[in-house]
Symmetry: C2
Subunit: 435 residues, 2 copies
């Protein structure tokens, strides 16, 4: 069924320079693509007339914009949300996270992924990049809930022999669904050997998949890599041939100027995760330097153990605030540029060509969100983009479309029984933790 | 009418050490005070029986906690929300803020205050400390909307002769309303002369009022005060006798160890405004040092030009994250301690005796909020306090009681026509900006 959004304030994310960023108009969707973007009432009427059975959604007082792209998370870790906060790192890992993960089944991971996707959809996230284990089990979850996903099969040296075949299985499972991509995701250059990094990259090349890893998240990581390989994490990965425009590097906090030039030159997508970086005291990523060097910077939430939610509106705001704070320049990372990181740039990180995703223009994939502007914290409207980035909330999103299908309407996720989901989650964590 | 909240998860904010922080039970309210706090069903039944016409609010699946206290804002500046972002300071003041304020009437200020209070109530803020002009006009707004307020009459050297009489007028207007206090609010030690600081403090003493000012918000301020008075802002204010337990100092970012000891010794309440400090690159306040020294640290949002909203849930989270990031210690400012700053400590900053406000216990003033826990981002519940501080949203608050009266229910503010409010605000800002 075709869909026509009318009377919307439209933020297409295509404006350059001083061009107006928003206009009032209509957007028509046919199949999974945007067919019409117009400020003209007669063009909207013509679309309606030519589309028998078209559904019209009146967006008066609401904003229509591209859905947000979360380029780094571990969505199934919602099961461990707030499980162990404000605890020192080694106690956290030894006494909480690792025992929890050891008792967790593939079904639990699929359940945690369900909760995570529901949370993201309700917050206007239409695409996400994940990195966890049992991703083959998550193909079905992402397919059912209708989100766009890149599922990264996470591995360490000790489980690479199980995960690589699982990744190939996942590729087969996702083969008939354009919305879902599989990726190879070695944990990091300090926890995965050069040989196993290469094995992942080779498999990625064989299937045309993305490759992702944590890069330079902590000072300890940099020290370990330097001791082992006499190189920075970026230099080490680059020497191994791991870095190209199908690579996503999460965090990239402790990088040198030369590392930044390498990331930019190779076309690596950097996933900046400001709330996680702050909460677990990782440091502040040099986002402004990376942007100035031409690196593809994007935004991610990281997992719910270090955030503790999957709220991209907060992440946008924190990204802007943190750069302003850390650089001492209140003009650093302005609102519109921040929004680009989470739309246009996120889409490119996931391998979509420019103009294909993350923007509203004819021919682009129809991943759209409707934001209700009739809220006290979004009034008055001197500058809609500032309001959105500096005041917008996940809960302001009322309608979400992915790939031409409406998956959230009036803040209800299609096909999900929330009370049952919460009960299933509660039962699973009770069983896992034995409490 | 008496009110009984039943089947609630109760977070009284009275737990010390390892005591459990929450329990399931009931809270009874008689008049403007909490009359009953119990885990016993029979005690709740007895309250119900003894209170003819009692209204019972079933809080199954919801959290009952003290309302949040915002100790520093300029609520009427909602009219300037996102008016001029990502612009250098002097251009911002000269071309935007000052011309806007020059064209703004007392009616506009009352309207902006209305929007600000509505936003705060919907986000679970039951008390706030304001600092702006025309506060005498805002007494009626706060009275009508039912929030608890301390309205600080802001002055500079050039308008002190108008503002001090206005403050006395405001005291008279608020005399019959226990919820509303008036305060004297010289802008800062670098913009107000020693003589005019003293005049404000004398008037405050005469009427038994609080005194508040911005302290050490920027490096420039510290430099100017040092050049003029050969002292830090804290030393300068202390030498003038301005600092005592009826003083609120906003920001306190660039303070020395000796300044911190002075703030603690004098009992000054520090209002930490992390989002504003980040957005306008003011620096990071040494909250952990101030807490360790025994200073009374509280949390505020600051105005909507530098935040850009009045969301105390975000402010809590940012306060915790920013300390963890700035100190390099992920255990800094833990969740429960953060929550204390915005409840127990905020109440003390406003002059309430310990146990009188900001806690749930018999005899305390009934400022309560109900938080809906049936949200994907608040599930599962391993640790309710972590969930609340690290994931809770203003929009999770569904019911708000101030001084025993329900002022928000099902996310509707009593007595407010929101579409009309937005239209009035839009008309006012159109007139003021001439756009």
């Amino acid at each position: 069924m075709d869909i026509l959004f009318t009377n919307a304030t439209i933020l297409p994310m295509t404006a350059a320079g001083d061009e107006p960023r928003t206009f009032t108009g209509a957007v028509g969707v046919a199949g999974n693509r945007i067919a019409l973007v117009t400020a003209s009432g007669s063009e909207a009427d013509a679309f309606r007339t030519c589309s028998p059975g078209v559904r019209v959604i009146d967006c008066t007082g609401r904003l229509l914009m591209p859905g947000l792209v979360n380029t780094h998370c571990h969505a199934a870790m919602t099961l461990q949300r707030s499980y162990a906060d404000d605890i020192a790192l080694m106690e956290w890992l030894n006494d909480y996270i690792w025992p929890f993960e050891a008792r967790q089944t593939a079904d639990d991971v699929a359940l945690g992924m369900t909760l995570g996707i529901v949370e993201m959809l309700l917050g206007g996230v239409t695409s996400f990049v994940d990195m966890y284990y049992h991703e083959n089990r998550c193909v079905e979850v992402a397919r059912r809930l209708g989100i766009r996903a890149m599922l990264g099969c996470n591995y360490f040296d000790n489980n690479v022999d199980e995960v690589l075949p699982e990744a190939e299985k996942a590729v087969a499972l996702a083969a008939d669904c354009d919305r879902i991509q599989i990726a190879l995701a070695p944990h990091s250059p300090y926890t995965v050997s050069p040989e196993n990094l290469r094995r992942g990259k080779e498999l990625a090349r064989k299937w045309g998949l993305h490759f992702m890893t944590h890069i330079a998240e902590t000072r300890d990581e940099v020290r370990i890599v330097r001791e082992k390989y006499a190189a920075t994490p970026v230099e080490h990965l680059d020497a191994l041939g791991m870095l190209d425009d199908k690579t996503i590097g999460a965090h990239c906090i402790h990088v040198t100027d030369s590392d930044i030039r390498t990331l930019a030159r190779r076309g690596v997508a950097v996933s900046h995760n400001p709330q996680s970086n702050m909460k677990i005291s990782s440091g502040v990523a040099p986002v402004e330097k990376m942007r100035a060097a031409g690196a593809l910077v994007t935004i991610g939430t990281d997992g719910t153990c270090s955030n503790n939610d999957l709220d991209m509106f907060e992440e946008l705001r924190t990204a802007a605030f943190l750069q302003k704070s850390a650089t001492g320049d209140p003009v650093a990372l302005p609102a519109y540029e921040t929004l680009k990181l989470a739309t246009v740039n996120g889409a490119r990180a996931m391998g979509y060509a420019e103009g294909e995703l993350g923007v509203i223009r004819p021919g682009a994939l129809a991943d759209l969100i409707v934001v209700d502007l009739q809220k006290p914290h979004l009034q008055p409207i001197h500058d809609l983009v500032s309001n959105l980035v500096y005041c917008g909330k996940a809960s302001d999103v009322d309608t979400v479309m992915v790939d031409g299908c409406i998956v959230v309407e009036n803040r209800r996720v299609a096909g999900v029984d929330l009370p049952k989901l919460y009960a299933d989650v509660a039962a699973a964590v009770e069983r896992i933790t034995g409490r």
